[in-house]
């Protein structure tokens, strides 16, 4: 089992490393831009006004950050699984002498691991910069709020991966509709801390998506009609 994990992680790293470096740079620049935006806010407005907007109105001048993990997750999944699905290369991996569920989870967890490292960097960089100007309590709530966006980004990665692996068209549409609908609430809240209660929901959703991935591999491996 150790060999399978090591082997798949090695393959995924070779495949993704240049794109991952690019994505890392993009994320860094994006978070830097957000931080510069907040810095500009503090520079142009009076402290009381900024305080009122952030604490009183619970506005989030870093709202644009909500799209970064989702876009990163989608693009990363495409970059990881499109080469596998092109000419059905996934068959190469599924014929390896290990349990197919283990093999597909190795693929998914290598992606989740790389995204987790990337997102952790984003969150720490963002919260670190925020803590220079705002009190700890505010940063704590902001951390929980943006953490949810990043967990949703992992979910976005999983949704995309499962849809790419799934050979049955109607199941793809079903996944797309159901899971996209579950992501919508995230984008409808506009105030700090409003979405914190969604955290367990999205963590549960990640677990459900991991189960769906097994189902998709089962469909892929044992289809009775060519897709």
């Amino acid at each position: 089992m150790k060999n399978a994990v090591r082997g798949i992680f090695y393959k995924e790293w070779i495949k993704l490393r240049f794109f991952y470096a690019f994505l890392f740079l993009f994320n860094f620049l994006f978070v830097l831009w957000i931080n510069l935006d907040i810095y500009t806010l503090f520079r142009l407005d009076h402290g009381e006004i900024v305080w009122y907007r952030l604490i009183g109105l619970k506005q989030m001048p870093y709202q644009a950050l909500i799209f970064l993990p989702m876009i990163s997750g989608f693009v990363f999944a495409f970059w990881q699984f499109l080469p596998e699905m092109r000419e059905e290369r996934l068959r190469l991996a599924l014929h390896l002498p290990y349990n197919n569920v283990l093999l597909v989870y190795c693929h998914l967890f290598s992606g989740i691991f790389l995204l987790f490292v990337l997102f952790l960097f984003d969150v720490l960089f963002f919260c670190g910069m925020l803590s220079h100007r705002l009190p700890f309590e505010y940063c704590q709530t902001a951390f929980l709020t943006v953490a949810l966006w990043f967990i949703a980004g992992i979910n976005g990665y999983l949704i995309c991966s499962v849809i790419l692996i799934e050979p049955q068209k109607y199941m793809r549409i079903y996944y797309l509709m159901v899971f996209s609908a579950l992501l919508i609430p995230l984008y409808s809240f506009r105030q700090l801390g409003q979405t914190v209660e969604l955290l367990p929901v999205y963590m549960g959703m990640a677990v459900v998506l991991l189960i769906c991935a097994v189902l998709s591999i089962y469909h892929y491996r044992l289809r009775s009609v060519q897709a």
């Binding site: 060999n3 090695y10 080469p83 190469l92 014929h95 349990n99 009775s224 060519q226």
Partner: protein, 303 residues
């Protein structure tokens, strides 16, 4: 195990379109089988079922004692698959491909891989994406053979290869098989190379008809005869030969401008008797030698 692959009453269909009705076949250990047939007769379907990526509608397809669509990890360790177009991970270099694949197989023999790859005279840091189809086929073959599998299933191994690489591929495979008692099942659109190394051939025909022959026996008993004809139009000739094909043991008749090619397992005298009623120039009736490719075209028909 005497029969690594056993197919019994295999049925498969795509929606309402039947591919096999009741396909039965046993593949003996240590033999090389060529699966032949025209486009659309179900070669790829059969290979996909054997590889375990397609579940048959009914019937049994057993590979090394297990249903092909539910192979255990231990059994997959003994089976090497070559996918159409020499599928490989193109982002790997030669060295990385070996390092990656070697981690999964218990019988991995690094020397076999590098022995084959060294013939390409490419640096190990050469990326598979930048290789020609022929070079990639050698790397993929190296990865397959280094597994030291009991069963090799090769789906259209010749696709995209020029004559030189086809010959290289076969030579190395033959060399490997001398020392390893592996069973090989392969398909190819280029039939001519098979003649020198295939033991048995399996013909697949439309509607699920199959025929299995030992190659030497097939080449000895299947004949091609030519005879001049005097029909004015192609249609007249076609109508006349259709009656004969239906009535007698004539496998196929190809109509050319002023002569016919008659393919049959019957000896010359018997064919002569069968076609005696046609408007033919019997003076020129003769048997012509055939390569496997000629025989394949004669057996399956050009259209």
């Amino acid at each position: 195990m005497q029969y690594p692959v056993i197919i019994e009453n295999l049925c498969h269909a795509y929606k309402d379109f039947p591919v096999y009705d009741s396909l039965s076949m046993r593949f003996e250990k240590g033999k090389i089988y060529g699966v032949l047939g025209k486009n659309g007769v179900g070669k790829t379907t059969l290979i996909k079922i054997l590889m375990g990526f397609l579940r048959p509608v009914s019937g049994k397809c057993s590979v090394l004692g297990e249903p092909s669509h539910a192979l255990s990890a231990q059994t997959r360790n003994k089976i090497a698959l070559l996918f159409e177009r020499h599928l490989a991970y193109e982002f790997f270099t030669i060295e990385q491909a070996e390092k990656y694949t070697s981690q999964f197989y218990s019988n991995w023999n690094k020397d076999i891989f590098y022995d084959l790859v060294n013939r390409l005279r490419l640096p190990y840091s050469h990326k598979i994406a930048y290789m020609s189809e022929g070079q990639r086929s050698q790397v993929v073959l190296g990865l397959l053979l280094a597994q030291q599998a009991e069963l090799l299933i090769l789906d259209d191994y010749s696709m995209g290869l020029d004559a030189g690489y086809r010959s290289l591929f076969i030579d190395y495979l033959q060399e490997y098989l001398k020392e390893n008692n592996a069973t090989v099942i392969l398909t190819s659109h280029v039939v001519q190379n098979m003649e020198s190394f295939v033991d048995d051939i399996l013909f697949l025909e439309k509607g699920g008809k199959t025929a299995h022959y030992a190659l030497p026996e097939f080449m000895r008993t299947f004949h091609c005869y030519t005879v001049g004809h005097q029909y004015q139009t192609f249609q007249d000739a076609a109508n006349a030969v259709q009656k004969i094909i239906k009535r007698h043991e004539i496998k196929n008749i190809e109509i050319h401008g002023n002569y016919l090619e008659i393919y049959s397992f019957l000896p010359k005298a018997a064919v002569c008797e069968v076609i005696g009623n046609l408007s033919l120039d019997m003076a020129g009736f003769m048997e012509v030698p055939m390569s496997l490719e000629d025989a394949f075209i004669g057996y399956t028909g050009r259209y």
